[in-house]
């Protein structure tokens, strides 16, 4: 079936397409994706299991970021985008008519390449999603959520005495962890990370990587990275995309030592033309 992304909103739970529903499980089935007449994903079928880190690698333009954005309908912002196939989150087709996109994005949080804190205080940044979604019972509850989220993002000890200071005064690495705290505040099941450490120095990068490993105890994480060593260090499995096609998915240890496909080996050893 061929659909347009601009569907009407309804509760996410209204569009169940499978009986199997495990929290934090992502599955695409025969997913094609187009920007206008340009097809960017071809027949991608991939299952992300609960509490794993799946890394998506591939050359620029291979479709890995587009694929990531299909998982919480961020591509809805592109008017010419259209798709066919299915994207299931916890067994429910998120592109089915009537899916509540706001609820979807609470469930599937996203962290971007460039940290993007709002021009508010640290506390207001973390509480933003809590506030607009009315998730806090009162101010005390909101403060608890802010602390819990900042602790989970490994930032609490660094900012607990200046929660009302501007978020933009934080370092780049701190801002990125703040954005992770903001994503965690609305209690997602799945975290999508689009090159979250590419603008950070090695120390800040290491913190993000350690954080991702800690977070997978509670969340399912899909991370796009151009840094192959980063994928090798933190992910459980890795998927290699090439020209819009999913070429290979495997245990990270295997994929980086003995990939099945020649194309994968050519890419990770730098033999691509």
């Amino acid at each position: 079936m061929l659909g347009n992304l601009h569907s009407t909103a309804a509760p996410l739970t209204a569009s169940a397409t499978t009986s199997a529903s495990v929290p934090g499980v992502v599955e695409t089935r025969h997913l094609d994706f187009f920007y206008g007449n340009h097809q960017v994903l071809f027949d991608v079928s991939l299952r992300v299991v609960q509490h794993e880190i799946l890394a998506l690698i591939g050359p620029s333009g291979c479709g890995k970021s587009t694929f990531l954005r299909t998982l919480n309908r961020m591509n809805d912002l592109v008017p010419s985008a259209r798709w066919q196939g299915e994207v299931l989150i916890d067994g429910q087709d998120i592109y089915a008519p009537g899916c509540d996109v706001m609820a979807l994005r609470r469930k599937v949080g996203m962290v971007f390449q460039r940290s993007n804190p709002f021009p508010f205080s640290i506390e207001e940044n973390v509480a933003y999603g809590v506030k607009i979604n009315h998730l806090a019972r009162d101010r005390q509850h909101r403060a608890e959520i802010v602390e819990r989220s900042l602790r989970a993002a490994g930032l609490w000890e660094e900012v607990k005495d200046r929660l009302r200071h501007p978020a933009l005064a934080l370092s780049g690495g701190q801002q990125q962890r703040l954005c992770i705290a903001r994503a965690l505040a609305v209690e997602p099941e799945i975290l999508l990370m689009d090159e979250p450490a590419s603008a950070l120095d090695p120390i800040a990068t290491a913190r993000i990587e350690e954080l991702a490993i800690e977070l997978k105890q509670r969340y399912t994480i899909v991370i796009v990275t151009h840094n192959l060593q980063q994928a090798a260090r933190i992910s459980d499995r890795t998927s290699f995309f090439l020209m819009g096609k999913l070429m290979e998915t495997g245990a990270t240890q295997t994929l980086f030592t003995k990939p099945v496909r020649k194309e994968t080996e050519d890419y990770i050893t730098g033999r691509f033309g």
Binding site: T257, T269, F272
Partner: protein
């Protein structure tokens, strides 16, 4: 798909590394060959050449190759076939260095044989030497050509060399039992057979490393399905 290397410098460094390893392999071949000629043709000068010149150069190359591998691992973060190649090179370098030591052992046995009067050979050491040398040559050719079939033929030949050693041991023990005056010569020949068998073992190791490098399959100890759980 076009597979022209983008990482030209890295690929050039890998090519140079392989050339250095093959040069080291050539020296080892020469050391083994000369040490056997020294022992079997009673040529002390050849033995000295192995001990004084060839083996020290093999040792120097081992250090140089290790250094190159560690630098490439640290600076280039190799993946997949390149990672397997570098791991294999470290091990092959170690095997070649040990083969150089074994050649020295054979060469150093020459004076003991020189003390003995000439006698008709009772065991076919030249045949065993030829077989061990052929295994070494094939292992190095496999390394040069990424030839896994050739490497597998080396693995198959190891049992044959082991059998030759056993036969030579049996014969020489009989000789020593029968002729006590032949003990010193027989011990020297036993030592050569033992060193040749170990050279063949190292050639086998190199062949296993070539298979691991090219196919990613660990065939050591007849274990091809991955490491133990």
């Amino acid at each position: 798909m076009d597979t022209q290397p983008i990482r030209k410098t890295f690929n050039q460094q890998l090519t140079e590394l392989r050339e250095r390893l093959l040069y080291m392999g050539g020296l080892v071949e020469s050391a083994v060959h000369r040490s056997l000629r020294a022992a079997l043709e009673r040529d002390a000068a050849l033995a000295d050449d192995v001990v004084d010149h060839i083996e020290p150069e093999i040792n120097r190359l081992e250090v140089e190759i290790d250094d190159r591998v560690l630098r490439l691992m640290a600076l280039q973060q190799p993946m997949a076939v390149d990672l397997r190649f570098l791991a294999a090179v470290l091990k092959v370098g170690n095997d070649l260095e040990r083969m150089g030591d074994l050649a020295v052992n054979i060469a150093q046995g020459t004076p003991r044989l020189l003390r003995q009067p000439l006698a008709a050979p009772v065991v076919d050491l030249p045949l065993m030497a030829a077989r061990a040398n052929q295994m070494l040559r094939s292992a190095l050719d496999a390394l040069m050509t990424e030839g896994v079939d050739l490497a597998r033929s080396v693995l198959a030949a190891d049992d044959e060399v082991d059998g030759m050693r056993d036969a030579i041991f049996r014969t020489l023990i009989e000789v020593m039992t029968r002729e006590p005056s032949e003990v010193e010569r027989s011990v020297a020949l036993l030592s050569i057979a033992r060193n040749l068998e170990r050279i063949a073992d190292h050639a086998t190791n190199i062949a296993e490393d070539v298979i691991f490098w090219v196919e990613g399959v660990d065939v050591r100890h007849h274990f091809a399905e991955g490491p133990p759980a």
